[in-house]
């Protein structure tokens, strides 16, 4: 059952990162749109799904609290300030999304909030992952790093990198959901974003080598991990052809593949640790009584229903946004 929940947790985090990733990316690209019509199309491209995407963050938090309370307590308290800022950024961004059309005088305010909130949330998520990879200062299951123990050049670089990655997903999504000028705007951006992401990956890799991170040793120890970079490279090649021939949706799917490959790399290199390299999955797990209690209701019924429901929503809202799309 622990394996089930570990998988469920991984799946919800991956779903959150890729799904909310593209709408946060659209939020960051929002200020660079050529005109107001384009901005509206961008909003329309994510409006049916963005808050559904964010539910996966809460699902992940719920699984952590219920099944891995030690990790929930340690990570959330260690990342106190960034997490609170991220939550507020997500709320503010959602609020801005809804109130943009409710006022005329203050629209600039909501626009700044939408783009800024998207950026802050994405940046903090990347920084948190970076801090986790680098290793948080944890002794006997207690965080000892202080309020800014998560800040480091490596973590901040990861923050920036995730922003670029999300923009890549966002632009890829726009090629699928929009047409004409927004689509060509997205196609123009994609090669540059891809170059930036690859550059960032190289920089992260170099920095990780220079810092002699423990995660690197695990990559060298487990050559089968090379499968993930190979998937990433194949995705990059497909991406290149899709951009040249202006195939919509394919760049987004390639972005998904790259993200999944990166996520898989991290997951396997962390294993069996949940917080590297201080808390293992077994140490983190709640007593079997708790795990079973949540499994027979939420695990067996509610989680699959939620996944099916998510798929249904994406199916209902497939295709392009109307060229004269209006809100609602």
């Amino acid at each position: 059952m622990i394996s089930f929940w570990t998988f469920a947790l991984g799946l919800s985090i991956l779903l959150y990162v890729t799904l909310d990733g593209f709408d946060l990316g659209v939020g960051m690209l929002f200020p660079f749109a050529p005109n107001e019509t384009a901005r509206r199309h961008m909003l329309a491209a994510i409006s049916p799904v963005w808050d559904g995407n964010e539910t996966w963050l809460v699902v992940a938090a719920s699984i952590l609290f219920g099944i891995f309370p030690l990790v929930y307590a340690t990570l959330l308290s260690a990342l106190y300030l960034p997490l609170i800022v991220m939550l507020v950024a997500l709320i503010f961004r959602g609020l801005a999304f809804e109130f943009r059309y409710k006022s005329v005088r203050f629209r600039w305010f909501w626009d700044v909030g939408f783009a800024g909130g998207s950026f802050v949330a994405a940046f903090i998520q990347g920084t948190a992952v970076g801090a986790l990879v680098e290793g948080l200062a944890i002794q006997d299951g207690r965080y000892i790093g202080g309020p800014f123990g998560w800040v480091s050049p490596f973590a901040l670089l990861c923050g920036l990198g995730l922003c670029l990655g999300y923009c890549l997903l966002g632009a890829g999504w726009l090629t699928y959901r929009t047409a004409e000028d927004v689509q060509s705007f997205a196609f123009r951006l994609l090669p540059r974003l891809m170059a930036a992401v690859l550059l960032f990956l190289a920089a992260v890799f170099a920095l990780a080598l220079a810092l002699d991170l423990r995660v690197m040793h695990r990559w060298l120890e487990q050559p089968e991990l090379a499968a993930f970079p190979v998937v990433g490279l194949v995705a990059c090649a497909v991406f290149y052809f899709a951009i040249r021939n202006k195939y919509p949706l394919v760049p987004f799917l390639c972005g998904l593949a790259i993200f999944s490959a990166a996520f898989g790399t991290l997951a396997v290199s962390f294993y069996p640790y949940m917080v590297p390299f201080s808390i293992t999955i077994q140490q983190a797990a709640a007593p079997p009584e708790s795990v079973a209690f949540l499994f027979w209701g939420a695990g067996v019924f509610v989680l699959p229903i939620t996944i099916i429901y998510t798929l249904a929503v994406y199916f209902v809202f497939k295709g392009k946004v109307d060229s004269d799309a209006e809100y609602h």
Binding site: N35, E36, S47, P48, V49, D51, G52, V58, V59, A61, S62, I63, F65, G66, I67, P69, L70, Y72, A73, T74, L75, L76, S77, Y80, L81, L83, I84, L87, V88, I91, F92, G94, L95, E98, F99, R100, Y101, K102, S103, V104, G141, R142, G146, P147, A286, P287, E289, S290, L294, A298, V302, L303, T306, Y309, V313, V316, F317, E326, Y327, H328
Partner: protein, 473 residues
Amino acid sequence: MDISALLLSRIQFAFTLAFHIIFPAFTIGLAAWLTLLEALWLTTLRPVYRRLFDFWLGIFGVAFGIGVVTGIVMAFQFGTNWSELSRRAGSIQGPLLGYESFTAFALEAAFFGVLMFGRKRVPNWFYLMSCFMVAAGTSLSAFWIMVSNSWMQWPVGFAMGQDGVFIPTDWSAIVFSPVAWVRFPHMILAAYLTSAFCVAATGAWHLLRGTFKSDARVMLRMGLGIAAILVPIQLVFGHLVGDYTHDKQPAKFAAIEARWHDEQPASEVLIAWPDQANERNRYAVSIPYLGSLIGSLSLHSKEIGLMSFPAADRPPVLIPFFAFRVMVGCGLLMLALAWFGTFFMSSGGLERKRWFLWATFSSFPLGFIATLTGWFTAEVGRQPWTIYGQIRTVDAVTPFLTTPQITVSLVIFCVIYALIFLAGAVYIYRLLQRGPVHLPSFDGAATNPKRPLSITGRSPGVQAAAPMLEMGE
């Protein structure tokens, strides 16, 4: 952990929770009210019920959205601010609150979509069932939260494991705890009454303004009529909650009563200024024997006072004492309004008594105030414990948080919540003021099902943007 950081963490939790609870308290009742309206519409086919349904559905949508986003914060705060509590009790509270969020997504979000956008796409019976499912979903969410909180008030069904971790040994004892089963109805009824008085107050408001008279009459009468039945039931459940407090949390009970010494027979302090430093009451007005009567339903029972507990185990007295009295006061006001209202209804002329309409209109905050003060009584009265008798609040908080950290987060929350509240309140006010006009836009085809945050209704920004487009930004 310094004391100011602990106090700030408590203030932050109380603030974010108090802000959050306003909206669920409203939507739990509104969901039931919408189900009732829809059932009435389908059985009587009177258009007024359909108009009222559409009217309240828009308001429900806004309140629901704010409830969802402020609830997300709660899902994280146990870990950020109360890491020791989550580490030790996460094995019990985690699954309970996990069920809460899973239920919320599965039931509420799915059927909420049908409710907001699906009237034309589904058969009538399915639409009615969706209303019911949303009402059931919101109540079920409340249920899990009440189970988790009641377990903190009266922990049962656990064993203590290594490193202070609670191990659940008997889930049915936890879920079917008698404490949860009196506090859950108490909370649900509070939510129903909150909504009933908002409905009645809206009706009274439109009658005073002379707008939408026939619809306003129905709102006023239904709101007051429902309240007239529910307030007495709520008083019974309030009494049962008091009974469990008396038996299981005697220190809290003594704090609510501001009873410092053991008394036999005990008197009841009606009003006073409890002076915790000197362990006595100032300006007390009390009635002999009544304390024993309320506590144990007898005239000469012995009632325990705060001095019987070590000073370190006594809750603060001031907040539970006054919060409880404000709550009871709101309850009695609601009872008076509801019963006078039904009396005027039967004797005729309810809508012409402007003073009574003013009183009803002014009563809209009563339910919210009663709900909040009730929670303050329960939570502050449980101090100094977070899990009663097991974990002290000073041991539950994240040990390494510093005062500046929490100051920053508290300020951020205050700013963003003020903004949400302002935006939400202005918007709900506009919807209420516009009144129950028929809105064809509710059945718009380009809308989407899973958008708890989406706000229906007028969007001036859409139209006003047209000239800006031509300017070619």
